[in-house]
Subunit: 106 residues, 2 copies
Amino acid sequence: MSMDAAFRALADPTRRLLLDSLHARNGQTLNALCEHMEMTRQAVTKHLAILEEANLVTTIRRGREKAHYLNPVPINEIAERWIGKFERHRLNALSDLKQRLEREEP
Amino acid sequence: MSMDAAFRALADPTRRLLLDSLHARNGQTLNALCEHMEMTRQAVTKHLAILEEANLVTTIRRGREKAHYLNPVPINEIAERWIGKFERHRLNALSDLKQRLEREEP
DNA sequence: TTGACATGCAACCAAATGGTTGCATATTAA
DNA sequence: TTAATATGCAACCATTTGGTTGCATGTCAA
């Protein structure tokens, strides 16, 4: 479980938009997802492949269509294993920073 | 306040390592941060500039040294405003996905 | 069966990214 | 003052990224 793939996948605004879109309506086909994107279908396909690679999206082929489903597990892992670490000491770090700034810029 | 800069900054493993390093010991100088990195000081400088641009790191010049401090606020914002959205419906989305998978692959 | 529709695949391209080397500048210490 | 130290800046380079176009394949409906 690399978490790196998820971080890199989340770096692109288009891909975050795609996740948003699936969050609003899960199980959309490729064409449906392309509807409000300002780029070609092929470009969207590439973004979806990266999301799938990162395990953020799961797909199911149904006839000639392909349905896309959000998988929130990697996002959850980032939240728990990575962000949690920084949150825990958030107030400490903030007060550290404030003290430094106040000391340096009187 | 874009959140986009933070997402892009977090995409690189070296930069996440730098944040980890600052989390372990806050206020390190550039040279101290370079110590355990497998690249030139100039490369680390570029990564730190990106972290600073994304407001994840704040620096204070002290004589000929430059101290780097972690700023957890953008990470917190990502957690609250973006990840929170997906966490809230996590169980729903998961059961949706399971149902679909079970229906399609009997 | 045939045409329309949904998706897949590959080559290509410009721009961004992550790294390097070389040299300049500023500060501290001897 | 001078030498060592800490950082800054710029040019350069290979690879990755994000997009395009063109065409192929598979599936449904008339």
